[in-house]
Every structure is written in C-alpha cells, then in structure tokens.
Symmetry: C2
Subunit: 416 residues, 2 copies
C-alpha cells in the first residue's frame, strides 16, 4: 500500500472513530484516561528504551533539543499525572450553551459538541503525544498525531501504551492515531485530507507553522509567536512596574509569554529606567534601546526596526520610550504578535483605553504577561495558545477543542 | 501602481480602519447604518442606472442569473430596510462572555470583540454588498468586498452610497472596501494577504468555495452545500411526517436547507410511501428511489450512489428505505453535508439518539429542515450558513462575526 492510501485509511478510521467518541459518557472517557496513565507507567521500561534509541540517533543535535526529547522516570510520571488531571476536568461535551424559543414555536438548543478529527503536528517532544491524545479523547475527538521524526521511537512506544487502554475499553482503533513514517511528504498528504480531518493544530516554531498554513486545505489554528510588551505608563507604580517587567523578562525567557519589548512613558523614563536597566544588567539581560534609552544606559545597544519585531526567547530585551499611551498602543498593535501585552498604571482611564485598544489575545493590567497559560488561567490544561482570531484566541484547553450543534425541537412545524 | 500593491494598500487600510471600528460606540455604529440606508434610497437612480448597465452586459446569461443580478426600487428598499434591521440588533461587541478569579488573584474577563478584517467573496448578487457591509460594521469589523464581475457597476454604485455615510461620520476610508477590478487574479492575491486579513467568507457555489479554500492562507468559513435529510421513523406520526417532508422538499426547492433525500423506516414504508409519493408526484417532484421505493412507486427512477450525494436544488428527491435508526444515522453522516437533518418520530429514545448521533450543524425533531436560517433562528440577520466545524456552525449572524479577548486585571501579580 502506498503512503497516500495508508494515510487516507488512517484518516477514514479516525472519522469513523470520532462518531463513537462523540457519544461516549464522561465516565467511560475518564476510565480510559486513567487506564492510559496506568499503561504509561506499566510500559515505562519499553518507553525509556525506545527513547534511548532516539537520543543516541540525535547525538549531534543541540543540547536544548536533546533536553526536550529526553524522557526519564519522572517525566513519564508527569505524563501519566497529566492524563489523570485531564480525567478530573469537567467534560465540555453536551453543555447547553444557550437555548431559546422561536416565533414559530421551535425550541432551539445550542449544545457543545466535539469537533471531530483533529490532527496535531509537533516537534520532537514525546510528552506532547500523551498530552494531546488525552485532551482530544476527553473532548470527544479522535486524533492523528505526527511528531518530530527524531522522536518516532519514543512516540511509538507511548502510542502503544495509550492504545492498549483504548483497546481494553473496546473503543475503535482509529481513536488515537500515530503517523509511523518519517517521510516529510506524509505531512503534505495529511494536510490535503480535508474530507476527513476537521482541524490541524501545528505546535512548534514559526517556520513549521507557516509551512502548514501554506499547504493545508484543513482549517489551522496557529500560534505564531509571542512578541509580548509591558508598557510602563506615566501613572505607573514604579516599584510594581519594576517587579512586573523583571518577572516578565527574566523568570523564564525562553517561552512565548515572556516580555520581548518594554515601553516606557517619557515622563517616567528618567526615574524608572536607570534602576530597571541596572537590575536587568545584573540578571544578564542585553538591552537594545531607542536613542533615549541608550542615553540613560550607556551599555545598551541601539535597537533596529527589526529588534522590535523579534521574538528573542532569550535574555535580550528591546526598550522604547514613548510619548504617550496612544503611541504605546499603536506600537504594540503594529510590532507585536497579538499574544499578551500588559500595562502598568494606576490611572483608570488609561487602563481601560489600553485594555480595549490593544488587539491581543490577552491584555493585562498590572500583572506579568507570564500568566498567559491554560493552567494559570484555571483551565486545568493547555493544548496551545492561539494568536489567531478565529474559533479560539489565547490559551486553548478542552472547551476550545469543541464546537456546537443546534438541536431544534419541534412539534410538526413547517416553513410558511 | 500594480494590482498587488493596490490590493495590499486596501488590506492595510482595512486593518487600520478595523482598529477604529472595534472601539466605536453602538450609538455611532447604528447612526452610520441608518445613514447608509438613507444613502441607498437617495442614490436610487444612480444605482438603478448602474444595474441596468450590468444587466445589458449580461444579456446572454441564464434567467436565474439575471434575476439575482437585477435591482429595482423594491429591492433597493429591501436593502435599506435590512440595514435598518441590523441597526436594531443587539451589539455583540463588549459582551462579557465569562469572568472568573484565578488562584493567583487575577480577575480574568473573556470579552467579545470584533475579528478585525473580513473579506467576502461572492457572486453577482448586488444586495450582498449592502448586507455584508452592514453586518461587518455593526460587529466592529472592516470589510473587503469582492463581488461577481458581472455586478461590478451595481456594486460600485452601492459602495459609493454606503461610503458617503462612512465619510459623513468621519470614519476611516478603509472601513468598507470594494475591489474595483474584474480581473480574477485579484482574488488569488487577496487570499495571500493573511498579514492583514483575518477571515474570508466565500458566498456562492461549491466550485467558488473550493477554489478559495485551495488558494487561501487566510482562515475560511465555508458553506459547501446542503444535502439535507428527513428520516421518517417507525414511530412517526405519519400525517406529520407527510407535511414536514412535503414542506422540506417543495416549499422552496432551490435553497440549501431544502430536503434532498428522504429516509423511511422499513416498517412504515408500505403505509407511508404511496400517499407521500403521490403528493410529491402531483407537485412535480421527480423521485429517485431504492429498489423498495421503486416497487411501491412505479414511476420512480432507480437512485444511483451519486444521487444520494447530490444537492439537486430542484424538484428531484432521492428516497431510501432503511432497516432502522442506526442505518438512517449512518447514511446521513456518510452521504449528507452536515447541514440540516430531521427525524420525525414520537419515540423519545429514538429522537434523542438521532439528535446526538447525527453530525450536522442543525438536527431537527419533528420539524422541517427549512428553518435553518438566521432570521428563522431569531438572529435577525444572516451572513451565511457554516458547514464547517470551526468557529461557527450553522446560521451565522453578528455574534459569529466576533471572537473574544481576555482582559486580565491584576494588582502587581508576577509568576512564581
């Protein structure tokens, strides 16, 4: 069988399975999730052995790559715990979102329902395999997983464990699917199967995501990048501003919700910047600033236009002194990535204006941008953060993996 | 200036305008809508003159095409009235969808907000120009309109009228945009401008929509077709079933929510079909049936596999006798278009099973499928019916032209 046929069969099987998963009871889904967790622990040795193979084959890759790829006992336990956590979350399927009667006497019920078949394309992080399988199952969707080729052995071992729980409960074989070939062509073929697949979620770098968008006929939910700002307003509590900016930049610089650009109102720049930049300097943060910033901090480099559009994911920060709130908002809307942006201010009018006018998934008042996260938001999980403006925006968890259907109850109504 | 640059400038202008429109008060938007309606009436003569030009140039087109293209005084008044109706609808922007506190003491508010820039690609129906401009304005979005080339003169005249209201209120020039070239290439260029445009809604035949999906990098909400079913269950009130099926097929056969396929439980087939098919025959409906149907109705043609997948949009109906509810559900999920499907039954268990298991945007119990419509649903308008399973499903109106943002209120929180 050639690859196209094989992938089409997988997608068909996923569609068939999705019809069964959509109608499972919460109790059944939670029992399967618990057995998936147990199966990971029971198959620890096999998973670690497979992971070892992947690590050895990836010997020449950068350290951060190897770190993401590596599993150990603690990480397998974390994967299992994550599945148990998902079992504890509220089942979104079947929720009555809204109900009303029409003038023709129909009762319309807008009921939350699964999306159907979800494909997830991700890099070599084996934990994503278990996380995504669990979230899709709980939300009643079947899933097609395509992980980075360097993690294929690990993924196969994890998949085998998860699938044993699926089989134990007599669920369809197409409930969870793993693409077992390393060939890149498989992704292109998959992305044309819009007859069977309802949604693609790419998880990884911007390049991967752009490639998926270019070739997909299936709707894609994207998370391009996080160029997050903190704007220190003229009415800011400068002590608070210092703590928030420091946290947003330094606490974990390599993630999408870290601050990449700091904007400061000109009236507080001279009071605020020297201390702030000194703190950053002590933490090893490289500053790339506007002319005024560079005048205040002699060690700062001049920021280029490109700096303000760059997601460093590192201890580097671009800094700009702005005239007023309007300039800050315009800068964020033009240079940012519509992810997470914060204002520090004690002025109610300014705060309101910022929250309304900044066109980002998450807009903050007096808090660090680092809170943009499914768990921090209280969703109990996270399958990604959408920078799109369709279907879902910001942190995505179970509810964001659902859509709705209209159930319309009549008693013989016909259209006039 | 070449076409690419021109279109990019339009898209840029639309993005700039969208930031202004997103923050307009309901009062301002409604005042603009009323002035748009007035401008249509005031420019009646110019619009009719332009429309005449389009009609003359389309002389050789089919009658139904000319009918859709043609404007007259009554139709211009209808367009104006539709804008006044939109002014009366509740503004969805700013609605607090949900709010909660997190363990870190943050207050999270999920607030409904406009999508941004919406492109609408449609066939030669000039009324769509005014309808879509109105709905996008009220939902705080800027719009880029690309109508069928045969209606360009009409669209230009309508656009000019609408835009005079935009200007009168000092709104940005990019609020409503009309693509003024007939060149097909313009659509392809537009669909690559995902940097500026957030959503594409194609309105028209399946071919147009598939073309848009193939070349778009921008998210698309699709309405492929309506292959709608009515299933007459063994527990159906057969009088009610006859009325519903007749209405679903005959009342307006040329629309997407008309029944294209009728399924009948084998235990009632012999009692139900003779009378039903006679009624259809009297109304000029051609029947294409399964073997049993053809045995009952001698005049019926045999249905092919393809018949069950065809949206006739005409007085033709495919009919199939099924063994039970499971077969009916499986048939609908496999052959249907996930649009609107109805069961006629007095059996509660069967009804529930059908409503849950049929994977369609609208599932009906004891009512005609013809009710799938924004106005019939009480939404007050309709910009399309989505057969997609992302963002919006079924009839789409103002709320479906919005997304949300998270406004997060803190008092100095930083991430641990």
């Amino acid at each position: 069988m050639n690859m196209s046929n094989e992938l089409e069969n997988i997608a068909k099987g996923a569609l068939t399975a999705s019809r069964v998963l959509a109608n499972l009871s919460t109790e059944t889904k939670d029992a399967v999730l618990k057995d998936m967790a147990a199966a990971l622990l029971n198959n620890k040795a096999a998973i670690l052995k497979a992971n070892k193979k992947d690590i050895v084959a990836s010997g020449s890759k950068p350290k951060v790559f190897i770190d993401r790829l590596t599993l150990n006992e603690a990480r397998i336990r974390q994967m299992a715990d994550a599945l148990l956590d998902v079992a504890k979350l509220r089942d979104p399927v079947g929720e009555l979102i809204r109900g009303w009667d029409t003038s023709s006497g129909l009762r319309i019920q807008k009921v939350r329902s699964p999306i159907g078949v979800i494909a997830i394309i991700y890099e070599s992080r084996p934990n994503v395999t278990a996380d995504c399988a669990g979230l899709c199952l709980k939300s009643g969707n079947s899933v097609i997983l395509r992980g980075g080729s360097e993690s294929l052995n690990s993924n196969l071992a994890i998949y085998k464990a998860l699938n044993s729980a699926i089989q134990k409960h007599g669920l369809p074989g197409g409930s969870i699917n793993l693409i077992k070939t390393r060939e890149r062509k498989a992704v292109d073929i998959l992305l044309k199967l819009d007859k069977y697949i309802d949604l693609v979620i790419p998880r990884g770098g911007e390049e991967l995501i752009r490639k998926v968008v270019r070739s997909s006929r299936i709707p894609v939910i994207k998370h391009y990048k996080g160029i997050c700002h903190v704007y220190v307003d003229e009415w800011a509590d400068l002590n608070m501003a210092e703590k928030i900016c420091f946290n947003a930049k330094v606490q974990r610089p390599g993630v999408c919700n870290a601050m990449e650009s700091m904007l400061v109102h000109r009236d507080v720049a001279v009071r605020f910047l020297p201390g702030m930049l000194k703190k950053f300097s002590e933490a090893g943060v490289e500053i790339r600033g506007c002319p005024l910033t560079c005048k205040i901090a002699k060690s700062a480099k001049r920021a280029t236009e490109k700096d303000y559009r760059t997601e460093y994911l590192d201890l580097i920060l671009s800094v700009k002194v702005v005239e007023d709130l309007d300039e800050a908002v315009a800068h964020i809307n033009n240079y940012g990535s519509h992810h997470s942006d914060s204002i520090v201010t004690d002025n109610y009018d300014e705060a309101l204006k910022f929250l309304k006018q900044v066109d980002s998934a998450c807009v903050y008042l007096n808090a660090s941008t680092r809170f943009t996260d499914g768990n921090q938001f209280g969703m109990g999980a996270e399958i990604g953060i959408s920078t799109d403006k369709l279907h879902a925006r910001g942190p995505m968890a179970l509810e964001e993996l659902t859509i709705y259907k209209y159930m319309v109850l009549g008693c013989g109504q016909v259209r006039q």
